[in-house]
């Protein structure tokens, strides 16, 4: 029983370029299905690439750098510094006696510089009203998709040293 009009022993080109419009519909659907499957393979390859990247990526090592003297800034005060590179602006906040937090100043939404809003006790991005927790840098409100990158701090003597990026 033949549903279409191409006999089995026809040449391949007749199969692909049929004179019947119904056959044409079949061919285009088949090609489209093949294209979609190849696109699916591409998505899978993308996931594999991320997987390989996560396995073979070494955590970057950053040289320690002095950020401030202990007691240099008052409680609730801030100091701007650059770490690990001169163009990477960061913000140091003294949240209490002997308590310091430091974050990258770059908002995770569109990279505007965040500032410390003392009244609300949070970090604010003025561009799109994004807010971050001063305790852990997590997103409190607004469009930022990720927490602020936190700078690891260490007190050595009377100096506050930045030792790396947390989560890097």
């Amino acid at each position: 029983m033949s549903l279409l009009h191409s006999p089995a022993n026809d040449a391949l080109w007749k199969d692909e370029f049929s004179v019947f419009s119904a056959d044409e519909r079949y061919v285009s659907r088949r090609q489209f299905s093949k294209f979609l499957t190849l696109a699916s393979l591409g998505m899978f390859a993308g996931n594999l690439w991320i997987l390989l990247k996560s396995y073979f990526q070494k955590p970057p090592a950053f040289a320690p750098a002095t950020v401030a003297q202990l007691g240099e800034i008052p409680v609730g005060g801030v100091k701007l510094f650059a770490y690990p590179e001169p163009q990477d602006r960061c913000i140091l906040i003294r949240t209490g006696e002997g308590e310091y937090r430091a974050y990258s100043q770059k908002c995770t939404h569109l990279s505007c510089a965040v500032y410390y809003e003392r009244e609300g006790g949070r970090l604010a991005c003025p561009c799109h009203n994004g807010y971050f927790s001063v305790q852990d840098g997590s997103v409190l409100q607004g469009p930022p998709p990720r927490p602020l990158r936190r700078i690891a701090l260490e007190a050595r003597g009377d100096k506050l040293i930045a030792t790396g990026l947390e989560g890097a």
Binding site: S21, A22, R29, G46, I50, L51
Partner: protein, 80 residues
Amino acid sequence: MNGSGGPEQKRGLLAIDGAMALIIVLLLVQVWLLSATLESFLAGHASVVLPAAIFSGLIFLCCVALNLFVVRLDRDSRRG
């Protein structure tokens, strides 16, 4: 030109359309999965990367199976 076809041919076309619609849905899930995985990876959450890759692979296998189904159905329809 014959553009209408019989009821069996229409059923075949319907089955192929259904399979392709399913492939499209699976592909959309894969696109979302890739973007979400990349987002998580860049945010430093590497734990989601392996399950996402496995799931994406399973979706790809489903797409291959559906594609084979479409090809087989098409061949069967043509050969009678």
